[in-house]
Every structure is written in structure tokens, then in C-alpha cells.
Amino acid sequence: MYTQALNAKPDAGEPQLEDAALLEAFQARIDAEDRIEPNDRMPAAYRKTLTRQISQHAHSEIVGMLPEGNWITRAPSLRRKAALLAKVQDECGHGLYLYAAAETLGTSREELVDQLLTGKAKYSSIFNYPTLTWADIGAIGWLVDGAAIMNQIPLCRCSYGPYARAMIRVCKEESFHQRQGYEIMVTLSKGNEAQREMAQDALNRWWWPCLMMFGPPDAASQHSDQSTKWKIKRFSNDELRQKFVDATVPQAHYLGLTLPDPDLKFNEQTGHWEYGAIDWDEFKQVIAGNGPCNRDRLAARNKAHAEGAWVREAALAYAEKRHARKAAA
């Protein structure tokens, strides 16, 4: 569903293997808007940055299945149930697609998944919040997928070919998800009082975590510079956040809902909506593992993986038997 600028520090002791001439030639390709493909030479740091970003994105898709999956069995109509199931299935497809893209950089899916399961790898902070009512499914589609699209549309022009191409397809589906989420919100806001309250409550809870999805403010951002230079990142965290706010505030007004930000105001001069202070302490806590659902999410992924081990072993054992039988025949 979503990639997040987590701004982890690069390993300090990483050896710099590239010589200056190679780096320069690589940068020239980037500057010429050339696409880097899996078999091309690339700086180790470029490979590492992308592996981390793409795999975090994949993990986010897979973990993101959990909060929404929480409502599949309780969806309030068969149409909603089918749509939600299809959506969560899409997220899984995105995850698989992205793991495959990450694998083109030389790290296996098993290794990447292992990093998620052991808690070594990060995923988007937003999925560590709970889905408490049906309206949360609307709010996630509208806001979380909306924020994801803001982030991912520029990634369609990312310098790394497999990631950029994956994003084109992913963005098409996300855009459908976003409209579906908004349509849930429209239905709720036109509904009875209990439904309108549910919609407002969901917006209240998801708004700020969604603004955090864009990552730390530019002033505190440590290494988007290199990502920008390599054209992995095309816009800064704050630029994307502002785009999201500008697009979303009128949509909330259309729904007749109030954004939970008393400082929110439209600036006639700049044409932008100005928003209040984001609680970055909360963000840091969630990233550090202390969000309301971090433990549950990882536990659920680990449980599925552990309980599925015998199934994967059986499939492997059968494949080996079949291979041996063929060889003997």
C-alpha cells in the first residue's frame, strides 16, 4: 500500500567500493533520466537504499492486509465485503510484486520476509493503528491510500526500472482503492447520525497518523538528499504532505466532516491549506515499536509464517519426490 520515508541512518562502516569515475558515469545516466536496470552496474549504496525502500514498501503492503482484513468478515453488505476482500487481495499482490522487484537487486524474498518477521525491517507506521469501526475502512481507503498515491505517483518515474514499472500498476489499483474508500465515507456521511458519528470519529483518529506517513519534516530529514540526487525521490516529505493536505481538505468539507486540526486555515496568498503542528513524538514512538498495534501486527505475521511452515515443507518435499521419480523413470 505504501512506502514511507523512514530515514534510517546508513551503516557507518559500509565500504565504498565504487571509484569516482564509475560514480560519475552512473550519476550521468541518472541525470539523463536513463532507467537503471537489474543487470546494470550501480553503486552499492544505491542498491542498498533501493532494496531497503522497496522491501519496506512490500512489508507495508503485507502488514497492511491485517488492519483492513480485520473487517472482511464484518463488512456491512455483501457488496462491501466483496470489494474489501478484493482490495486486501490487491495489497497482497502489490506485496508479491514488490518483493519480486526487490529480488532483482539481489536479496531473496525469504531473506526480506525474515527481516520483517524478526522486527529488523520497518514498514509503514500507519498500519500500527487499530481499525475500530467500519468507517475506518472508508477512512483508510480515502486517506491512507490517498497519501500512498501522493507518494507513489512520483515513484513511477523512479530511476530504478523494476520499481518504477511496479509503481505504475500499483498506482492504478491504489487509485481505485482510494475512490472506493471515499465512496464508503460519502455513504456514511449521507447516512444516519450513528453513521455520521462513525465517519467523523474515523477521520479524527486517522488524520494525524496519515500526515505522518510522509515522514519527518524536511528540516529533520537526514538523507533524502542522496535519494533525490539518484532520482529515487522526486519530492520532499513536506512537499508531498502539503499536496495531500491541499487535495484532502476540500474532500472532507464535501463530506461535511471537520478535520481534527483547530489551526487548519487556507492561505489566500500561497493557495495552500496550512496545518497545525504534527506530534512527531508519537511518530517516533510508533516507528520505535510502541504504536498501539506494532506487537499484534508482527505477532500475526509470525503466527501465519510459523503455522504455515509444515505446508511449505510439504510442498517442497512433494516437489523433490516428483523430481526424483521423474529422474528414476
Partner: protein, 257 residues
């Protein structure tokens, strides 16, 4: 305040609801796996099959509403009948258990539904025949998917063999009900609307056995068969499933979702 509905179960309405309930309840069970499957590919596959079944249920409920003639919608049937009003076979409401149990349940049902819908394509009821044409294609895939897994689990490791063998033993007594027909169904068979389920049973058994043989599993003999679902006498599992499925509509009744 909306409350549980009482359906006017004419033979055609009842017949349609039975098939719709089979599809919805099994689809719901499969959907419970989403995000928790043994591998991501299976998260996708199980969700996909759940979607097929929920789609079939929706078409069938809509048709039941038309056949009943009281303006009822798919959601009226799904959300406003209790356990005693549901008409699905007991097999589909059985809990997921482990992956072997889920796969075996799917395998037994899919082999039935594949033959059933293929035969129903010749129904004189044009709507049911059209639903059959779509459903048959879907069930043919479910047959392949479940069968491939039955073979892998049966002929995989000692553990997987033990698990799928246990599932087979536990679930086999629920297969007889798939072929049950009461007087109201027999009348529809005579009218060319329904198919004679007893005529499908040998084919079903042969198809199932062929896969079980390859999976090194022993096809059980038909002993005592559990039944009751078609008349609303269910296992204890269905009530919990429905409590979850119907929860939101029952909390805020009369709303548009």
C-alpha cells in the same frame, strides 16, 4: 427497527437459497484466511476463491429475491436470517482448522459444485442456467487448486499426510448431505429446473478418489452421514459465523451501507 426475516420458501426460493447459502458461508470461511495463509500466494488464492463464492451467492440471493417477489435484496437474505433460517450444508460451515482442513473442505465441495453447476447449465430456468455457466468455470479452478494441494499434502511429509488424512476422516461424514434431496427439490427436478443430485454422486466419488489415490490417501467408506443444514439444523459453528457477518447491520439497523 429491522429484524430477522421470514422467507416465503417456495420450492424455487428454497432451492436458490440453499445454493446461495452454501456459497456465502464457504466464501466467508475462506475469507477468514486473508492475511494469515501459509504463503502469500495462498492469501491471494484463498481470497480469490472466496470472491468467486461470494459473487455466486450474490447472484443467487438476488434471484431468490426476484423469485420470492417481495422486493428482498441480497443483503436481506444474508444479514437478516438467523441460524435456523440458513439452508447451507453443514460441510461449508465447518471451521477452517489448519490449512489441510480448509483445503480438504474446499476439495470436497468444489468437486461437488463443479459437477453440479455443469449439470445446471442445462436448467430450464434461464437465470439459474446463466449463474451455472459462470459458476462452473470458477469451480473448475477450485477443483484444480484444491486437488493440487491435496496431492502435495497427502504425498508431502509425514506431518502433512497425517493432517490431511485426519481432515478427510473428520469431514467425510459431511459429504452425504451434498446429495440430499427433499420432495420440493424432486419436484423441481421433474420440472427440469433442478438436477438430480443422486446422479452426480458416483462421478463425484470417482473424481475425488482419483485425486486421493494420487495423494496416497484412502477414500473413506460411506458410513453415517451428518445432515440438517438444508432444514436449518446446523452445527454450533454457524451461529458464531453469522454473529460476526451480521454484526454491523444489526448494530445500526435500517442504514444504507
Amino acid at each position: 427497527m429491522a429484524k430477522t426475516i421470514r422467507v416465503n420458501e417456495t420450492p424455487l426460493v428454497l432451492y436458490t437459497l440453499r445454493r446461495a447459502d452454501d456459497a456465502l458461508i464457504l466464501g466467508h470461511r475462506l475469507s477468514e484466511w486473508c492475511g494469515h495463509a501459509p504463503m502469500m500466494e495462498e492469501d491471494m488464492a484463498l481470497a480469490n476463491m472466496a470472491l468467486d463464492l461470494i459473487g455466486q451467492a450474490r447472484s443467487l440471493y438476488t434471484y431468490a429475491g426476484e423469485a420470492e417477489g417481495g422486493g428482498r435484496t441480497e443483503d436481506d437474505f444474508a444479514y437478516w436470517r438467523d441460524e435456523r433460517g440458513y439452508r447451507n450444508v453443514l460441510l461449508v460451515e465447518q471451521q477452517n482448522g489448519d490449512f489441510a482442513r480448509t483445503i480438504l473442505r474446499q476439495f470436497l465441495y468444489a468437486h461437488f459444485a463443479d459437477l453440479y453447476w455443469r449439470a445446471m447449465m442445462a436448467s430450464k430456468d434461464a437465470t439459474l442456467a446463466a449463474i451455472a455457466a459462470k459458476s462452473e468455470k470458477e469451480m473448475a479452478y477450485h477443483v484444480r487448486h484444491a486437488g493440487e494441494w491435496v496431492i502435495r499434502l497427502g504425498d508431502g511429509t509425514a506431518e502433512s499426510h497425517a493432517r490431511i488424512a485426519a481432515a478427510l476422516e473428520d469431514l467425510w461424514p459431511y459429504t452425504g448431505e451434498l446429495f440430499e434431496m427433499d420432495a420440493s427439490e424432486k419436484a423441481l427436478v421433474d420440472a427440469g429446473i433442478a438436477v438430480d443430485l443422486s446422479a452426480l454422486r458416483e462421478r463425484w466419488r470417482a473424481n475425488v478418489k482419483a485425486v486421493l489415490d494420487e495423494a496416497t490417501l484412502t477414500t473413506p467408506a460411506d458410513g453415517w452421514m451428518q445432515k440438517g443444514g438444508r432444514t436449518g439444523i446446523h452445527s454450533e459453528h454457524l451461529g458464531h459465523l453469522l454473529a460476526e457477518l451480521q454484526h454491523v447491520q444489526h448494530t445500526i439497523p435500517g442504514a444504507v451501507w
